[in-house]
Amino acid sequence: MTVNLTLLVIMGVLFSVGVYLLLERSLTRVLLGIMLLTNGANLLILHTSGAPGIAPLYDAARDPSEYSDPLPQALVLTSIVISLATTAFILSMIWRSWILARRDEIQDDLQDRRVAQQSSYDAEDDDALPQDTSEFNHADARFAPSRHNEEEAAESPGHYRAEKFSEARGRSPHDH
């Protein structure tokens, strides 16, 4: 198999620049990185057809080895179409992200942080004297709200209600 050195070098540059851009936090750069990587992959597939030959139109008089291998070109064509669609979709997401948050950066997952910040102690599971909170036992034992985090509470629609509810029971929900 013959390999075109120029194409090979271009491919290497595309891959390295693509990976570099991909590691950025700005979405637009990530998109550019993806575009470069896809084109690098396309060049790689194009490489596999070997030395360029004539168009593969069947002619009984010709030796088959003179033709170009048409399959990689068909594969690349499909892959270009697919990457076009993906690029358009990511662009529209970037635009939407900009409209919503005026930011062109990859955002953190809030829930992830909440889970990371929660205490490993859990009143319901880890209490020395377990409190019975069953719906089917009407004992007087009342359970104090054990876990909550301010962030959740602030955006929680039920916050106000729960606060009133806890006050009626003589304690503040922030007090445990």
Partner: protein, 545 residues
């Protein structure tokens, strides 16, 4: 003109495609769209069931598209594995579709701008079917791209800030895995000059060991991202839970399993040796343990379920790593079980969110009294996933454990121990949710959504959101009243839970089928001979008959 049923295989892809095209034409007629979508799915289901019955105890059946002989033309291959996957995936998508339709109708979204949902959903199904039927790597790639592009649209539907944030991670990770797949495809073509899987099965074996290993690992990484196996799984719990309930449900059921399916093909057909089985064992172990530890830490039901999803992918990888016929049979059964159970759990989570106003376990309580049916619908798949006898999760796991003990290496014994432990932890994660959400006193909910504790004027539990329409901050406030638990949504979920139970009841014949499937997987010659056999009239290979 022959009447070989395998000839209908392309229709499994074409019907959803045509349904989607029709949907775009009638984009403003919502009711008609619904009818067309459900109709297309039912038609596909009947066709797939027909194909499954036909290959039940036969070798792989091959369709040569356009009558071109195998290594040059495009082939579609139906064997027990792909036929079973097709049937299960369409059953699950149909249930989810009915759930979604009912949710849309119940919420009064009839005239909304989301008429894009139905065609996209059909395209997703078409992509999944295409991937299961593909006889060459490039068509597998195209199938993946179809289903991924549809999933991008479904995941970010509505374009809220949350979904865009999650969508960005999901899309970027998926695109990178696709690029990796494309690169390995190019390299494989460069090394062998073919992309036909049967042809590759023969030609890859002639390559030097180092080259084989490199191609093998690259494919495995590309598929590993899609299947969410351990070091490559972090995108999943971040992105899935933000989508709407039916979308999360269908993603959880199907998308990762297409990745697992591709790994099975890679390990049995393309690289049937035992080169990296030990590596896969370790990956399976870490996937199980890390996944389930993540699940235990979560306070959100959907995120908890996403982590158990990752953890249970580990079981499938364990079976693939063992590579014996018994292990692969258990894996085939386990995949079918897991698709159904995981999807039903996500659908139930959607119902809980609708009735209780949240999926945060701290904000929910007393649901068993509010809706006993919901409790039953949660606890059956939960016990099933946790591997409690006599459910299908138990049967699948027993099959895997037996195969593990049979293998008899210290690593396989370790894996057997870990998988028992992990299934215990799964049960723990799911029962914690059960205790909090269903058994606690309703007063113990912290910051509950108004809808959880709402009562009607007569002091009964409300059936519609009318009781909370006036509450500030309720997700139903300021909207016309909707039924909280519409019959069709509950019905679709019940049907899927019933399918899960049926997997237990009909475990005998299903294990027979799984055994036939794994017999064909363990003998790749059958696949190769069926595909590379000379083409007879009508594009059906002589061998398959």
């Amino acid at each position: 003109m022959t009447t070989d049923p395998a000839q209908f295989a392309p229709l499994a892809v074409l019907i959803p495609f045509l349904g989607a095209a029709l949907n775009f034409i009638i984009v403003h007629r919502n009711r008609l769209q619904r009818g067309v979508t459900v109709g297309a799915m039912v038609l596909t289901l009947i066709l797939n069931a027909f194909m499954l019955a036909n290959v039940w105890n036969q070798g792989p059946q091959v369709v040569h598209l356009g009558d071109w002989a195998a290594p040059y033309g495009i082939v579609m291959v139906v064997d027990q594995l792909s036929a079973l996957m097709l049937v299960v995936s369409v059953v699950v998508s149909l249930a989810v579709l009915i759930y979604a339709v009912s949710e849309g109708v119940a919420s009064g979204d009839d005239e909304g701008p989301i008429s894009i949902f139905y065609p996209t959903f059909l395209l997703l199904v078409a992509g999944v079917s295409h991937a299961f039927l593909a006889g060459d790597l490039f068509n597998l790639y195209v199938g993946f791209e179809i289903l991924l592009t549809a999933s991008y649209v479904l995941l970010t539907m509505g374009g809220t800030a949350q979904r865009i944030r999650a969508g960005v991670t999901y899309v970027v990770v998926s695109v990178i895995s696709s690029i990796l797949f494309l690169i390995s495809l190019g390299m494989i073509y460069g090394a062998t000059g073919t992309v036909n899987m049967a042809d590759l099965s023969v030609k890859l074996a002639d390559l030097p060991q180092g080259t084989q290993m490199q191609l093998h690992l690259m494919l495995l990484i590309a598929f590993g991202v899609k299947a969410a196996i351990f070091p490559l799984s972090f995108w999943l719990p971040d992105s899935y839970p933000t989508a709407s309930a039916p979308v999360t449900a269908v993603f959880a059921g199907l998308l990762t399993k297409v990745g697992v399916y591709s790994i099975i093909r890679t390990e049995t057909l393309l690289f049937p040796g035992t080169q990296i089985n030990d590596l896969l064992m370790w990956v399976a172990l870490l996937t199980m343990v890390v996944g389930i530890l993540g699940a235990l830490a979560q306070i959100d039901i959907k995120r908890m379920l996403s982590f158990t999803l990752i953890s249970h992918i580990g079981y499938m990888i364990f079976g693939i790593a063992l590579g014996t016929q018994a292990a692969l049979a258990a894996v085939v059964y386990y995949i079918a079980h897991h698709i159904v159970i995981q999807t039903s759990l996500f659908l139930v989570a959607g119902l809980i969110e609708r009735r209780g106003g949240s999926t945060n376990v701290d904000r929910l309580a007393g649901m068993l009294k509010i809706s006993p049916l919901l409790g039953v619908l949660y606890v059956i798949p939960a016990l099933n996933l946790g591997g409690i006898p006599p459910f299908s999760g138990f049967l699948g796991k027993v099959g895997l454990l037996e195969a593990g003990v049979e293998a008899g290496t210290w690593l396989s014994y370790l894996l057997v121990g870990v998988s028992v432990f992990v299934s215990l932890l799964t049960l723990m994660a799911l029962i914690r949710v059960w205790n909090r959400v269903f058994l606690r006193n309703v007063d113990d909910a912290e910051y509950p959504d108004p809808v959880l504790r709402a009562t009607t004027a007569e002091g009964r539990r409300p059936r519609t959101s009318r009781a909370v329409a006036g509450e500030s901050g309720s997700r139903f406030s300021g909207r016309s009243p909707v039924v909280l638990l519409p019959g069709t949504m509950v019905g679709a979920t019940t049907a899927l839970v019933a399918v899960g139970v049926a997997l237990t009841v009909f475990a005998g014949p299903l294990f027979d089928l799984a055994d036939n499937a794994s017999e064909n997987l363990i003998n790749p010659d059958r696949y190769v001979n069926a595909v590379l056999a000379p083409v007879g009239p009508g594009g059906v290979s002589e061998e398959g008959r």
